[in-house]
Each structure stands twice: as structure tokens, then as C-alpha cells.
């Protein structure tokens, strides 16, 4: 016979142990382990970005394999490649369209500083138009370096005051 459960409070006989934690820790744990990248692949570095998604490097070990090609569904923009002035406005626009909270990884020498392109057409570092959280060195960086950047970013996200920021903005 099924009896109605009339307990409205916590019943330790049924539900077991309780873990007490801080809301920030929970929110940050969820955020840092479900990073959905916006693959802003602009040049050669984008090939390495693709490689990091392939089976050998397997970015999904870090919960970041869901490459969203829609800015509304992604929260970390991986700028991989040379940002030209013509493309810069599109990069900024896509960044603006991403839902907050959002982070940016500048992947490779070009995205970080303009790289070897000291020329009229190349933005000398994507940090001139979007705030960058992690810079990855290399030309191109190996996929391991990108995975390292994602782990670094996870570490950074884990330390953010999540709830305080949530209600401030």
C-alpha cells in the first residue's frame, strides 16, 4: 500500500546526508565545468582549435566540447586567429551578443598582440576591443596549450564572487 508522505521537512531516514556549501562555490562549480566556447576561428590557429576538439585531445574532458556557433548559447569566446580591423567589429558584436557571464581566451600570438603582423590591417591584440581573461602564447599554440588555458580559466571562474555579481548587474 502506498502511503502519502506527509513530511514537509527534511527526513534523514529517507534522504541521507546533507552537504552544506556556499552558493558561490556551487554556482562557480557549475559554471566552470560547463564552459561552452564560441569558436571565433579567424586564421590558422582555428585549425589547432579544431584539433583540440578532436578525439586525440578531447576538449570534452573539461566540459568545454559544446562549441556553440550561436553567441547566445556560449559563454567563453576563444579568439583563435588574426583579428583584422575589418573583422574586429564582428568580433566585438558577437562578444556583445553573448549572454553574461562571459569570458574571453585570446589564443595565439595574433589574437594576443597582433603577432608578426605589424601592419595597417591587423588589430594589435584583441584586448583592445574585448576584455581578455587568458592569453595563450604560441604561433600556433598546441591544443594542449588551449586545454591549459581552459583549466586556467576554470580556476579563475572558480574564484569569482558569482552571486554578488549576479545581483549587482
Amino acid at each position: 500500500m502506498v502511503s502519502a508522505n506527509n513530511d514537509f521537512t527534511y527526513n534523514s531516514k529517507i534522504e541521507g546526508d546533507v552537504i552544506v556549501t556556499k552558493a558561490d562555490a556551487v554556482v562557480n562549480w557549475i559554471r566552470s565545468h560547463s564552459m561552452w566556447p564560441m569558436p571565433m576561428g579567424l586564421a590558422c590557429c582555428a585549425i589547432e582549435l579544431m584539433a583540440s576538439g578532436a578525439a586525440r585531445h578531447d576538449i570534452s574532458r573539461f566540459g568545454a566540447e559544446v562549441m556553440r556557433f550561436s553567441p547566445r548559447q556560449s559563454d567563453v569566446m576563444i579568439v583563435s586567429g588574426t583579428v583584422t580591423y575589418k573583422m574586429a567589429t564582428a568580433v566585438r558584436r558577437i562578444y556583445d551578443q553573448m549572454a553574461a557571464p562571459k569570458w574571453v581566451i585570446a589564443m595565439g600570438a595574433c589574437a594576443s598582440s597582433g603577432g608578426m603582423y605589424r601592419s595597417y590591417s591587423v588589430l594589435q591584440g584583441v584586448d583592445r576591443i574585448v576584455p581578455v581573461d587568458v592569453y595563450v602564447s604560441g604561433c600556433p599554440p598546441r591544443p594542449e596549450a588551449l586545454l591549459d588555458a581552459i583549466i586556467k580559466l576554470q580556476g579563475k571562474v572558480a574564484k569569482e564572487p558569482a552571486l554578488g555579481k549576479l545581483f549587482k548587474a
Binding site: Y85, K86, R92, R93, M116, R118, S119
Partner: protein
């Protein structure tokens, strides 16, 4: 058809066509007025059915006419290349007739040449910039354009208002990475060839 044949065939009909010194392929000089007719003969009678490249040349600030256009033609059946050089009409903007009606592949090539040299291709169906953004006020491959670029406003006003950033010239110290090909490898380190102005020595007012 060999190069000599092309020159003798064209020379008979177009007296202003002359052979041009060249290290690799045969080449001819054509005046801008003759260009459409000469090109049509080359395509229809000499078998040059593929236009592989169009590029502009800036012969220097004092040259008159200053700009030229070079076409590279290829004959698929004859496996032969031909280079056709012409000088643009004097004036601003300099101009040459467009080749899009003969070879559709000229479309993007001519747009690119326009983008970088400001050469107008008369009769081009869609002469817009292709690599630089619309409204960019300069032509980067002209000789007076500094390698590092010049300060401009960012193309998108909305983005510029948000970021407060202008299109700043690229820093020059240690760059651009032009390696002179003389000396030993050790001597050929990347270095600045154009150090006429950089972030330490600002551009002189003139």
C-alpha cells in the same frame, strides 16, 4: 602559339604593342586604349583562356603616369603564360578598362587592385573594396602609405563608442618583419627596414 608569334601578330594590328623585358615569361606592353581589343584577340585567337592574376604597380610618386596594371594570362591548351603590362590613364583616380566582360575571374582581382591601389576599372560591375573595410580612406599599397598604417577611426561607430578605440597604426620598433636577403643567416634577423617613424620617433609633421 609562341611569344614571338603573339608579338608579331599583335604588332601587325596594334602598332603600339611592344615586347617587354622579362626574366621568365614572354611579356608585352599595351597602351590602355588598346587594352580591350588586344585582350580580346589574345583570348579568342591566341588561346589565352585563363586570366590568372591582376595586380597593380605604383611606379613612384614622381612617375607619370604613376600607376600600372599587370595581367597574367595562361593558355590551358598551349600551357603557356603571357604577361601583359599597361599604364593607367593619368588623373585621380587612375583608370584602366575592366576585363570582367572577357574573363569573369577578373572581378575579384580588379576589386583587390582597386582596394589597394585606388585604380579604377572602368566598366567593372561592382567595384567595392574587398579586403579593407568600406569607407577606409587610404590605399595601403601606394608608395606614400607608411608600412605601419595611419590612424583612422574604427569602421563601426557603435563598436567604437563602446570600446573607445581607434584604428591605431601598428608599432614599428623591430618590425615589420622584412628580412634582407643578403649577408649570412645570422645577419638576416628580422629588423625594421622602414624606421622612418615609429613609436619612439613620431611621424614628422610636413
Amino acid at each position: 602559339m609562341t611569344a614571338v608569334d603573339v608579338v608579331s601578330l599583335l604588332g601587325g594590328r596594334f602598332p603600339r604593342v611592344s615586347p617587354r623585358a622579362s626574366a621568365d615569361f614572354p611579356a608585352i606592353n599595351v597602351s590602355a586604349e588598346d587594352l580591350p581589343a588586344v585582350m580580346r584577340v589574345l583570348r579568342d585567337e591566341c588561346g589565352y583562356d585563363l586570366l590568372t592574376d591582376v595586380s597593380g604597380v605604383d611606379w613612384g610618386m614622381d612617375a607619370e603616369p604613376r600607376f600600372g596594371v599587370i595581367y597574367h594570362l595562361h593558355s590551358i591548351a598551349g600551357n603557356a603564360y603571357l604577361r601583359v603590362a599597361t599604364l593607367c590613364s593619368v588623373g585621380e583616380p587612375p583608370s584602366v578598362p575592366s576585363m570582367v566582360s572577357l574573363w569573369p575571374s577578373a572581378d575579384w582581382h580588379e576589386r583587390e587592385t582597386y582596394d589597394f591601389f585606388g585604380i579604377r576599372f572602368e566598366g567593372h560591375p561592382d567595384l567595392r573594396r574587398i579586403l579593407m573595410w568600406d569607407g577606409y580612406p587610404h590605399f595601403p599599397l601606394r608608395k606614400e602609405f607608411p608600412l605601419a598604417g595611419v590612424e583612422t577611426v574604427l569602421p563601426d561607430e557603435e563598436v567604437a563608442a563602446e570600446t573607445g578605440v581607434k584604428v591605431q597604426p601598428a608599432p614599428m620598433a623591430g618590425g615589420p618583419f622584412v628580412a634582407p636577403q643578403e649577408d649570412t643567416v645570422r645577419e638576416r634577423e628580422p629588423r625594421a627596414k622602414d624606421e622612418s617613424w615609429n613609436e619612439r620617433r613620431p611621424k614628422p609633421e610636413n
